[in-house]
Amino acid sequence: MKSRWREQWQQKRSKSESWDNMSATAYLFCSADAYQHHLPAYTASSPAGTKYVHVNKAGEEYLPVRKLINLVKIAEIERMGDNWNGYGAEPLPHDVIRRAEEFVLRLPEDAFVSPTARDSIQIEFEKRNGDYFEIELFTDHFSVYVVRGDHESEHDYPYEELHIKRLTEEVEGFCG
């Protein structure tokens, strides 16, 4: 079931000549069961049509394509084996992978996702004026680094719903 959205995505990609042809308004329709595989906790605790799953006028559920791109990227990260960076990095922990999927779905779609060689995944947002919002996901906590103008701050938080919800609001405010 996990591969369904990936297959759909690959089919969609094969129809496009390049990634550039995928505009921000192009969406890939996904079935609800694909989400349930990835996020059993969310789908079990919240009804269909949560903020993570968009619904079009026809009642079909879909993910914004940028989120889907990031989920595909996270799936690639999950497949990386020993020495994936050429400098001896180890595969990323599965719980970090799962957290990354969760955060990508909850946060605004303009995220840029990348792995680090210190058992973490980085999610970042950046404005044209240089303001920067970075979230680094570790096994037992997440770390937030924000640069606004000349001011920068860095804080660690446990994976508690209160903090994740506050973070989501902050990032939404940052992205405007």
Binding site: I77, W84, G86, T116, A117, Q122
Partner: protein, 118 residues
């Protein structure tokens, strides 16, 4: 070579996987993060030209080559430690560690300052 560096001596690193880190034509700071205990492996330029150093890096690592100067590291509060490797499995007389990358700001500074070679 010893543990002294000219201010403009470059320290080279391969960005791998090459499809993961590039944002608007530059590497993201995640490419400069490693476990604090490990240090970030680079190849120092030494007496070589930039082209020779990049060619040597690509002789044992794929991916795009980027580099920062010793001065970039000093400005970011990163320690540069020459640590050549000579074992049956690995031999790199240019190997140099960037140590003390503790904050996200340091990693971002390196990402912003780095030169992209290919």
């Amino acid at each position: 070579m010893d543990n002294t560096f000219a201010e403009d001596e470059r320290l080279f690193r391969a960005v791998i996987p090459d499809n993961m880190y590039w944002k608007d034509g530059r590497p993201t700071s995640a490419a400069f993060k490693t476990r604090e205990t490990d240090g970030l492996s680079t190849d120092r330029q030494g007496e070589r030209t930039v082209e020779e150093a990049v060619a040597y890096l690509h002789s044992h690592l794929k991916g795009s080559a980027v580099s920062v100067t010793y001065n970039d590291c000093c400005c970011a509060g990163v320690d540069v430690v020459y640590s050549p490797v000579s074992t049956p499995e690995d031999d790199n007389p240019y190997h140099t560690l960037l140590q003390g990358i503790k904050t996200k700001g340091q990693a971002r500074a390196l990402a912003q300052q780095c030169m992209i070679h290919d």
